[in-house]
């Protein structure tokens, strides 16, 4: 689905973007030339270009595309956000992605690594994973493969051992949990992640706590209102009086500044509110609150058509 991919969404986008960049380079390059300055805007434009790129006619043999992409990737990494290559290039002794070996071969390897990184959800790879590995040119292959294993580092993050595993030990003890489950009916909450545009930290909502879209919309508003206010007007925190916080409305009908969308099991993005509530609860995997202006017109049109069809 075409959605504007917010720049400020944290570290993951950088990795994800590289994977999705298969056919994007031509389009991106044009844009860079047009705008001149906005090298950093790459991520946003790429997403939107993706759909159109796939339909474009291209010259040259099929295999060449990947070669060319890999080459672009090399150049791209100069100002890139990938910390490893930045460190590597100025250091010189640490092998970086794609140097010295065939571009195609390396690109595929890179792609695999990044995909496994994405799956594992680990942070940007580091050449310093183990001191013995870094700095050895012979180990170039090994060190990049070692990165995919994402070996845990000793003593990092620097917390003392009794502060580890707090998530399990600080929960109420088993006896009291059993006691509670006797008193209350067995209720397992259905927690889904919800992210809002421009806010780096996602939240979780328990869908079992609501029985209608209106209640969910209200909850989302309450959840993010504070954070949104803090971000949009930092000076608000300085005043003693509670600042009039803007209520987030129109999440469901596209009338507000933000719109609530969800991702189902197949990963498709849908507008919230189309299907009956119970069906929604059974298929939803994740929620997002996106700026209405970022949703492409075609998407909204398609959705409203579907809506109209349902209502008839």
């Amino acid at each position: 689905m075409e959605q504007g991919f917010r720049k400020g969404q944290g570290k993951c986008p950088q990795l994800l973007d590289l994977i999705r960049n298969h056919g994007d380079w031509r389009g991106k390059e044009k844009r860079v030339v047009k705008n001149g300055v906005e090298v950093e805007e790459e991520e946003e434009e790429e997403e939107e270009e993706e759909e159109e790129e796939k339909l474009e006619l291209r010259l040259g043999p099929p295999g060449k595309e990947e070669y060319w992409v890999a080459e672009r990737k090399e150049k791209r990494e100069e100002p890139s956000l990938l910390s490893l290559s930045k460190v590597a290039k100025s250091n010189g002794s640490i092998p970086c992605f794609g140097s010295k070996r065939g571009f195609l071969q390396d690109f595929q390897q890179q792609q695999q690594q990044q995909q496994s990184h994405e799956r594992k959800g680990s942070g940007p790879p580091t050449a310093h994973a183990s001191a013995s590995a870094s700095g050895k040119a012979a180990g170039a292959n090994n060190s990049s493969q070692r990165r995919t294993a994402a070996a845990p580092i000793v003593g990092w993050p620097p917390v003392r051992s009794f502060r580890k595993n707090l998530a399990s030990t600080s929960k109420p003890c088993v006896e009291s949990q059993n006691r509670r489950s006797e008193n209350e009916s067995e209720k397992k909450g259905l927690f889904v992640k919800i992210n809002m545009d421009g806010i780096p930290i996602g939240r979780k909502v328990d869908l079992k706590a609501y029985d209608s879209y209106e209640k969910l919309s209200q909850a989302v508003d309450e959840l993010f209102r504070d954070l949104l206010a803090a971000q949009s007007d930092p000076l608000a925190t300085g005043t003693a009086e509670v600042k009039e916080k803007q209520v987030i409305t129109g999440l469901l009908d596209g009338s507000g500044e933000y719109t609530l969308v969800y991702e189902d099991e197949e990963g498709d993005r849908m507008l919230v509110g189309d299907v009956p509530w119970n069906m929604f609860v059974s298929t939803v995997k994740r929620l997002r609150v996106l700026r209405t202006s970022d949703l492409s017109a075609s998407f909204l049109r398609k959705v409203s058509r579907k809506r109209a069809a349902n209502e008839c």
């Binding site: 310093h128 600080s170 803090a230 003693a240």
Partner: protein, 609 residues
């Protein structure tokens, strides 16, 4: 928390030179009586009477350098001995110079030992110090150890050697068990303080654990502080209750997680005069809601409470009971309490006078926003990660930091674990909080850049050293180039403690720091690309430092030997952990000045060059 033992962290004190690097003038002990003319001796006695008003060790170090007479007088009158590195000086040398010591503070292992980077058995054994002190300090009242190994035998020896013993404080120590604690409880009849803070007790089987609480004498005790939240073993609760009842001077009590709310209520009833309370588990041990009512009245009766901690297995429905004391609290430690922002906010909003706040990152950015609005007087904030792994979700970010900087303008010390950060937020804090003395930011993902701009975090940390003129302690993280270290070298003239991890591009980075930070005393570096040539850049300064620690950098034996040869009074320890096959490579380096030469208790995995 440790506000009481402020000497343990020297961030507050300016200067902080310990046993000053001075030639041994000798004559401290033996020159006392016969060799000195009578008239001079009179002057010395006068001087001693004056000098005993000097308490700051920095002042005393300065006074001792004036002349021999002052040296002797100062040595006679120093009551509080502080040894920042137990291997910098031999016990005998210290006991021969200072004859009238009543209290000793000793620090042992380097701080990175807390993160499993120093193998077990490395050293810092208290026993050699105890053997030297027991015969010559019969009036010793206080022992305070940090990161040292102390055995049950040592505890027994303390109990038997010092009849006036009053204060045992052990921080991040190991090697002892409840057996030793029982002996202390039993034999030290004048004990006022028994503070066990973040220690690692020896593992004991269930039937080996000694109920040391029951060993305190049956009579009224002079206990003022009893802190044992790190002692995992169970104990007889009735014995504790009775002990508290017969300790009218008790002001600080921090119990371990075995204590339930019902038991806590009983303790509080026995000691309404408490000022510092560690609440144990903070969960109910029984079914039923009647505990809640009583808890509220317990807190209502504890009018002197200023510090709360514990909450190890907190049940949030009982939190409202503490609202009554929140307004008086200056210190609140929720760093073991897995509470959501919604559960924390009501508490925070009551704590208008809070100066110290420790919390888990479950507080979230919005919880920190609440802190910034309610706790205007906040001086120290620590945000710990619930899930201390690199790729965890992370619930706080630059937004929380920005909010804190805007609301808590008097902030002096911050420790902040997060996954995402921006230069803008750090720069904002540097401008909004000019009183910052300690800035420790840990972006848990290694080499992570600015969340929004994608740039390194150089500018943020640069602003901190530039704008925070009182900064003495700094920990850096995130994606950092040599530029960040250049800023630190250029502007961080007062920085005494610096922690660097996964930072820098080249030797220049370390060089900037070693050549620029003229006040540097403690430097810890890990996983950064600094090699032998950078190490050599600090040769002019290493004698002024307490220690240098480097692990997983690019050092070799040759470079370290070079430094060792140039600086004969510098002990250069190379610690191997068996993972590298290359004998030339130095995985862990620990260097410190010493008057004694290589220590004789080094284990096989330590090589002293």
């Amino acid at each position: 928390m440790r506000e009481e033992a402020s000497e343990m962290s020297e961030d507050e004190e300016a200067g902080g030179a310990k046993e000053r690097w001075a030639p041994d003038l000798g004559g401290g002990g033996e020159g006392g009586g016969s060799a000195v003319p009578f008239s001079d001796r009179v002057l010395e006695i006068v001087l001693e009477n004056v000098l005993q008003f000097l308490t700051s060790r920095r002042d005393r170090n300065a006074a001792s350098l004036v002349c021999r007479s002052w040296y002797r007088a100062e040595a006679q009158t120093r009551r509080d001995l502080f040894i920042g590195n137990c291997y910098a000086v031999a016990p005998r040398r210290a006991t021969e110079r200072f004859r009238g010591v009543r209290s000793i503070v000793l620090k042992g292992k380097p701080r990175f030992a807390d993160f499993s980077l120093v193998p077990y058995g490395w050293g810092a054994h208290f026993s050699s110090w105890l053997f030297a002190m027991a015969p010559v300090y019969p009036w010793l009242e206080r022992i305070c150890l940090k990161r040292m190994t102390i055995a049950d035998d040592d505890l027994s020896r303390i109990a038997h050697s010092f009849p006036l013993f009053k204060d045992l404080t052990l921080i991040c120590c190991d090697g002892f068990s409840t057996v030793g604690l029982a002996i202390i409880a039993d034999k030290c009849r004048h004990l006022r303080v028994l503070d066990l803070i973040e220690d690692y007790l020896e593992d004991e089987d269930d039937d080996e654990v000694v109920d040391w609480i029951s060993r305190f004498p049956e009579t009224t005790t002079s206990l003022e502080s009893l802190v044992f939240d790190c002692v995992a073993g169970a104990f007889n609760f009735e014995a504790l209750e009775a002990l508290v009842a017969r300790s009218p001077g008790l002001r600080r009590l921090r119990v371990n997680h075995h204590v339930t709310l019902e038991q806590l209520r009983r303790l509080m009833a026995r000691a309404p005069q408490l000022t510092h309370l560690g609440t144990g588990a903070f969960r109910s041990g029984s079914v039923g809601a009647e505990a809640e009512l009583d808890l509220t009245s317990s807190f209502a009766a504890s009018k002197s409470l200023v510090c709360l901690s514990g909450f190890r297995e907190v049940e949030p429905e009982y939190l409202p009971a503490i609202y009554l004391v929140c307004a008086n609290l200056t210190s609140l430690n929720f760093s073991f309490a897995n509470l959501t922002a919604e559960e924390l906010k009501p508490v925070i909003q009551h704590c208008r006078n809070l100066r110290t706040f420790w919390v888990l990152d479950t507080v979230g950015d919005e919880g920190l926003l609440a802190v910034s609005q309610a706790c205007r007087d906040l001086r120290e904030l620590r945000v710990f990660p619930l899930d201390a792994t690199e790729d965890s979700e992370g619930s706080v970010s630059d937004i929380g930091l920005q909010a804190i900087s805007e609301g808590c303008r008097k902030l002096q010390s911050i420790l902040y674990f997060c996954q995402q950060m921006t230069n803008a937020a750090v720069i904002a804090m540097s401008k909004n909080c000019p009183d910052l003395v300690v800035f420790r930011l840990c972006i848990m993902g290694r080499h992570r850049p600015d969340r929004i701009t994608g740039e390194p975090m150089d500018e943020g940390f640069g602003a901190i050293v530039m704008n925070c003129k009182k900064l003495t302690r700094l920990s850096v993280s995130g994606l950092l180039t040599d530029k960040a270290l250049a800023y630190i070298g250029k502007y961080g003239k007062l920085v005494r403690t610096l922690s660097v991890a996964f930072a820098g591009n080249s030797d220049l980075g370390l060089r900037y720091v070693l050549e620029g930070c003229s006040g540097l005393q403690k430097l810890e570096i890990r996983d950064s690309p600094f090699s032998d040539s950078a190490l050599l850049c600090g040769v002019h300064h290493y004698y002024n430092m307490r220690f240098l620690w480097m692990n997983s950098c690019k050092l070799s034996m040759r470079g370290c030997k070079d430094v060792a040869e140039r600086l004969p009074n510098l002990i250069v320890e190379v610690i191997t952990d068996g993972t590298t096959n290359d004998a030339e490579e130095v995985e862990r380096l620990y260097m410190y000045r010493s008057l004694e030469g290589p220590r004789n208790d080094a284990p096989p995995f330590v090589k002293i060059l």
